[in-house]
């Protein structure tokens, strides 16, 4: 089955996120208020041919471990959505 995989890779909490800070700053300069904890990461989407959603999630995890995320600095989250 074809599934859509959404991977969200964000800086590990505790690590400084200057890009997030810059955006927080810019948003408040634009007049948005009540904002906090802005974190910026990567969103990766792909289509995957997998036996099941669970299998797709496992494959996606392997992709993150091997390539997509850097364990020193990043955490990831995976969502799978059948087509």
């Amino acid at each position: 089955m074809m599934v859509h995989v959404h991977v969200r890779i964000v800086p590990r909490s505790g690590l400084l996120d200057p890009q997030g800070q810059a955006i927080e700053h810019a948003l408040s300069a634009l007049g948005f208020s009540g904002i906090g904890d802005v974190r910026v990461g990567k969103a990766i989407e792909l289509r995957l041919d997998a036996a099941s959603p669970a299998a797709a999630a496992a494959t996606a995890r392997a992709m993150c471990d091997r390539l997509l995320a850097n364990p020193v600095t990043e955490d990831f989250r995976i969502e799978v959505e059948p087509e």
Binding site: L15, L16, P18, Q19, A22, L67, L68, N70, V72, T73
Partner: protein, 233 residues
């Protein structure tokens, strides 16, 4: 003669000046393709600057899987000299040959300018011809050069004196001495033995009097000499 392999990834772009610096230092320089599986009997390896695979995901993330990296690892494990410059440093971190990671510069912009760095040790494969504490001015040019590591790793790096190069302020400069927000002002690190080395600045770009300074040349003379000693031993 000491033979230094300079690895070319598809998007490397500093290989020519790196080769030239090795040759100027009296070494034998060899360009090795990333698809090669061995290093052609080189005594030392340099991973040069550039954008190995466009670096669209993270600098060095894809390059670490290149076929040649097996041979680089093997050389590093055997105590051979492995030097990563800029993108090469990023590749070494991604390949876990050095700890930590290089992230997007704190100011979110590419930075290209001279920096003042202090040589923290001269018992490594590429700093023997400098004095400890010597401050040299060489260029950086990178978008992802902010060195980060977890607190335990940082503590260990400092305790084991594995910080090789550090950004330092010099009198009269009106720029921040740390160009990218690196933790502990780290510009370069090495493994415990001082044989695997990575740093962000580009000594090969300022290694010829004609360009106004040859402050970076001794990285290459050191490398050529120390790798030769190793071979003799």
């Amino acid at each position: 003669m000491t033979c230094v392999a300079v690895i070319r990834f598809p998007g490397s772009n500093c290989e020519a000046e790196t080769l030239a610096a090795v040759v100027r230092a009296g070494g034998d320089a060899l360009l090795v393709d990333y698809r090669d599986t061995h290093l052609h009997h080189a005594d030392a390896v340099i991973l040069p600057g550039g954008f190995a695979y466009g670096d669209y995901l993270r600098s060095g993330a894809i390059a670490r899987f290149a076929p040649v990296m097996q041979a680089v690892k093997a050389l590093a494990d055997a105590g051979g000299a492995v030097v990563g410059i800029c993108n090469g440093f990023q590749v070494l971190c991604e390949a876990r040959l050095l700890p930590g990671a290089l992230q997007r510069n704190a100011q979110q912009r590419f930075v290209s300018r001279p920096v003042d760095v202090r040589i923290e040790r001269n018992d490594t494969v590429c700093t023997a011809d400098y004095d400890v504490g010597e401050v040299i001015r060489i260029p950086v040019a990178h978008g992802e050069g902010r060195y980060v590591a977890d607190p335990a790793t940082l503590t260990a790096l400092e305790a084991e004196h594995r910080v090789l190069l550090r950004y330092v302020p010099v009198a009269g400069s009106d720029l921040p001495h740390n160009p990218n927000g690196s933790l502990h002002d780290i510009a370069g690190i090495c493994n415990a033995a001082g044989t695997v080395v990575g740093f962000m600045p580009h000594p090969e770009r300022l290694a010829d009097r004609v360009l106004g300074s040859d402050a970076g040349q001794r990285f290459f003379s050191s490398l050529v000499r120390s790798a030769r000693v190793e071979v003799a031993a």
